[in-house]
Amino acid sequence: MGPYNDLNSFQLDILREVGNIGAGHAATSLSQLLNRRIVMEVPEARIASLTEVTEWIGGAEQLVAAVFLRIEGDVTGGMFLIVSIEEANSLIAYLTGNSEISLKNEPGLSALQEAGNILAGSYLSSLSDFTKLEMKASPPELIVDMAGAILASGLTETSRFGEQAILIETSFCEWDEIRGRFLFLPDPDAVPTVFKALGVCANE
């Protein structure tokens, strides 16, 4: 039994809207950063077991580049910007305007980390404005490794509450070359705070 068995579809819709607002602003930032049109997909919000979360991105062993930020304040949780290796390299090439720069060298790693920081920053600040709740992000950290290892390590705080996590996922893409996902995983005890701030019953 997890703590979220009683989240109803209306509440999941609210969380989806949270993802919509946050990722919408982040996509706008990315669009300005790249001077390109970014298409955002409809967010998904779901309750998933820890194993399901780590299996999400094409399997726990899938090699990915992830920028992780821990969120502290009125709302706590984890935020990941996840891209495949090819997509990370395209994104870096666009950001720097130099196709020689990639995940293999320091300028490429810095560029991707900073992009993650800007995108997560605009995601969080729009949510913070919308809910009037404080959300501070830790410095971003870029990791290139197995998706499962990264996600599980970012979920240690969440795992203290039980076997499940709330996953708010939004994908974005720039036609075919750049594609990525935002995962926002609020800690279980932060969710009633978000609902309360938005005037939604948290069925306590």
């Binding site: 502290e72 990264i150 240690t156």
Partner: protein, 165 residues
């Protein structure tokens, strides 16, 4: 040995057992630790994918002993006993416990990998289980597979290749 082996897969914070000729495997260990406890005489191995060092970290009820280092080893021994083990001369191999993030995340998340490893070693001593091999620490994710036949634990990483311990 047949090239088609059946594999028992262990998810995060899960526990399971494999009897020869099966192999047992868990993927994507970061700060988590994969613990294998096995009984050579039965060619039987139990594995847990441990996430947190101490069940006192749980907020609310502890519903899953596989998740916590201080509970998982006992559970592994009990599983082997249910498979017919006398519980004597058990051996162990462990891998994982990396520090994936440099930053400090929440008060209890600091050094979670090394703390998982320390607690598991302590529990192995408590149950008189000999630690045969370990590949722990560092900053890389690992996937592990234990072969119940030759007792080799294969550890695969993205950046450092594959290791057999």
């Amino acid at each position: 040995m047949s090239s088609v082996q059946s594999v028992v897969r262990i998810g995060i914070a899960e526990i399971g057992v494999a009897v020869f000729p099966k192999v047992i495997r868990t993927v994507g260990l970061g700060s988590c630790v994969g613990v294998v406890v096995y009984d050579s005489s039965l060619k039987t191995a139990a594995m847990a994918h441990v996430m947190l060092p101490d069940s006192s970290l749980a907020k609310g009820m502890v519903s899953n002993s596989a998740k916590f280092a201080d509970c998982a080893v006992q559970e592994l021994v009990e599983i082997l006993k249910r498979k017919g083990s006398a519980g004597k001369g058990l051996k162990s191999k462990i891998a994982g416990g990396a520090q994936m993030f440099k930053l400090k995340m929440g008060s209890e998340s600091t050094r979670i990998g090394p703390r998982n490893v320390e607690e598991i070693k302590k529990q192995l001593r408590r149950f008189h289980i000999h630690l045969e091999a370990a590949d722990v620490g560092g900053s890389s994710g690992r996937t592990i597979e234990f072969d119940t036949d030759n007792e080799i634990l294969t550890v695969r990483t993205v950046h450092q290749g594959t290791l057999e311990i």
